[in-house]
Symmetry: C2
Amino acid sequence: MGIDLAVSTVIFAIRPASDPAERGILSIPLVRRTREPFAGRWSLPGGAADEAEGLADTAARKLYETTQLAPAYLEQLYAFGDTDRSWSGRVVSVVYWALVRAELAEQAAEGENVRWFPADELPELAFDHNRIVEYALWRLRNKLEYSRIAQAFLGETFTLTQLRHVHEIVRQVSLDPANFRRQIESSPAVVATDEVVSGGRHRPPRLYRYDTTVQLADNGPLG
Amino acid sequence: MGIDLAVSTVIFAIRPASDPAERGILSIPLVRRTREPFAGRWSLPGGAADEAEGLADTAARKLYETTQLAPAYLEQLYAFGDTDRSWSGRVVSVVYWALVRAELAEQAAEGENVRWFPADELPELAFDHNRIVEYALWRLRNKLEYSRIAQAFLGETFTLTQLRHVHEIVRQVSLDPANFRRQIESSPAVVATDEVVSGGRHRPPRLYRYDTTVQLADNGPLG
DNA sequence: TCAGTAAGAGTCACAATGACTAGAACAGAG
DNA sequence: CTCTGTTCTAGTCATTGTGACTCTTACTGA
């Protein structure tokens, strides 16, 4: 009876690769379902919407409860409401997507029921979650090109090479370092600090920092 | 108890202006509320989600029932779910936005409870509908620049001047006719027919047609 | 026949971008 | 200490897309 309203989140982070030649792998944490339908299958973290809480707040809370992660960026993805997307009654899912810093994601505990998967090598998930992740991936890759959200994968300060690696890993391309530098430095939202990273094996790169008065993405009137 | 799920739609069409110097006005049909809360106020057409129907289907149906319009383009805008957006219990609204052909919108019946308003001269609406329309407008103006949805305001065939007027009216800019032509003709999705519009006061312009195998907008995996 | 207006083709300068070159600055091997 | 390999960083060059602008063509109505 009635329509159930759920809130789920597709969480992205860049995790270290087993092969050290790769710079990292775009990954997604999934939770194993303990109940029918789809018991045993992996699925997106989430749950029923809370009556006393905004949708984004519910997304952030569920996200934290299941993975202990705090997102650096959170945005609504889509409301999935096809009639046949669940086996047990009608469910409308308001899905969010989130970006988590690599540093945090590394510490994150994995367990029997929570595990990280490479974003484009997912198993068969519960419900229509494969399709949802596919759409989230598309949005992430698009938005990376015309906004500043790449920063959300990194920390307060970062080198241009780190920022370039984020783009290369997520968008699965290889970018010319010199051209990438030119483009980033043309934006006033990125400021060079006078610090450098010492201790590396090569010429010490300069640290950059995002102007915190500039928001990561322009979502119009929604802020 | 429980969260009510509603579906509403922001409908756009270009309607003739009273001043013949203007080419048209971007307009939105609104319906007058007959019940509390906000009885007498104008609001977006919509209603409760139907358990047996997809969200987009509900949006299109409600849209047709209240305005007798069939949209040429329909896309989900956002799920609004703040806790304080309704006076009567918690309501989550999945909002769509739609484009209707000018030809259809002209025929559309206005009545005591349905009326068209210029998109940026709206009265104070019920609930948070002013904010919703503002966001829909922002999305429309953005999307017009990087997709082919402008065509949805027109008919099967159209002149380049008509298409340019759509851009000028919606984006509130004035565009150079020659540059606009160059840009449109560089896209393979627009094909020139060998027909022309005769009977005008000036040199008869050629009719163009959109390649129907190309979709109006690229919404990724959602199609 | 002329004036006014829009269609349609073309030119020019400038900005953004991809491909590429080259010097500077480091660590570690010899 | 010197050499080598790598990366950081600053440049050049050619191509492309775009805004501003000019000019000719084709029509109607005065």
